[in-house]
Symmetry: none
Subunit: 125 residues, 4 copies
């Protein structure tokens, strides 16, 4: 788990996204305790301060909450988690569509390409 941060994006944001993904995929349950900042830091091979930033950001977007002296927990508000799932989905779709349209592609073209890929995937699997 060390040295895997290649993208130009800041490590702390990559970690935020990774955790969000894990939550959305259900690998982390509502209310579940995240590792302590020190443990998490060791686990992913970064400085505790960086994890601090990650947890702060998760709190800011109300996806986790920290209880003093106890640790940081995935929010137990399941509605918020469904919301998160929708937000992530929507933001990706919106960004994708806007990119695509700005390049002058029509939605039909794109749907055709996507469906082709789907067919391909069926054979590959």
């Amino acid at each position: 788990m060390v040295g895997e941060f290649t993208s130009s994006q800041p490590i702390y944001l990559q970690l935020v996204q990774r955790l969000c993904r894990q939550i959305v995929r259900g690998e982390l349950s509502p209310g579940e305790k995240l590792p302590s900042m020190r443990d998490m830091a060791v686990k992913v091979g970064v400085n505790p301060n960086t994890i601090q930033r990650v947890y702060t950001e998760l709190e800011r977007i109300t996806v986790a909450e920290t209880r003093r002296g106890q640790g940081t927990f995935v929010t137990s508000d399941e509605g918020r988690l469904r919301e998160l799932r929708d937000e992530l989905m929507a933001s990706h779709v919106t960004a994708f569509l806007s990119n695509i349209r700005e390049m002058g592609f029509t939605l039909e073209e794109v749907l055709r390409v996507l469906q082709d890929r789907q067919t391909l995937d069926l054979f590959e699997q």
Copy 2:
């Protein structure tokens, strides 16, 4: 045209993308002369150094070429431009699909959302 670069992405990359889009959409024709670095800098309200980077990058990806003393021109190689169009499309689709899958969504779900949006757009227009 000033102060509109808010994203965390470097301004010069935002400009590269914008120019690629304009080329792909046909707003800039093959072989067309781009504004001088100085003019472009004034036009978009950034430092000339930034435009310098933009043109260098466009050259690196063989989408534009600089002729000394004459200026910078969109490549006149139309094959390259078709290629660019396909590359951009493919990279966006690939990135989108990988994002979506990482979050545990299936392609079917996504297609459904995309089709919903399409329907919506018909009403909005």
Copy 3:
């Protein structure tokens, strides 16, 4: 009664203030016995250590006293309680005025706002 301590202020101070308020409002009478530390801890859902600090602090400001083997009691010195009431009032007023002035508001402005609120409240009630 769990997880309601969100402010950045220490939980034990929040509890001290809450108890002072209850005393000043007369919800707790002079000489009245407070719940045992253990009971109080269960009641408000915090660690007994935290309640220990709360009672110690109440003792320090001579608002409660602990009798070994008997428990902790609101002071029966009614003069002290009137004093407490005045102290709290004064400290809030002083802090408020100093905040307001630092921001460059005049007392007149503030009084106007306060009186508006009062009028509003009459309608809301």
Copy 4:
């Protein structure tokens, strides 16, 4: 300007508030450039990282904006600044009233005290 941070509140928040006050009082004008993080750090005698946090927070509450490579500026949105003024006023008033009421004082009592202080101040000045 060194060693003046006494309160139990974090330095970075004290600085955020100080800057907000200066903006609300008009000591800092809309659009005005703040000192660079390094300069400000020297000026107030703290580490640049601490100032970084201050500026980030000011940006988060849309009271300042940073332009890459240029510096951090008070927002030039004057509407936002009026809003800020009102927000600060309102938050102090609300907190004050809620404190006061929780202790069982009536608004009338408080207004009387405030007006007394005002009269006093007239003599003191």
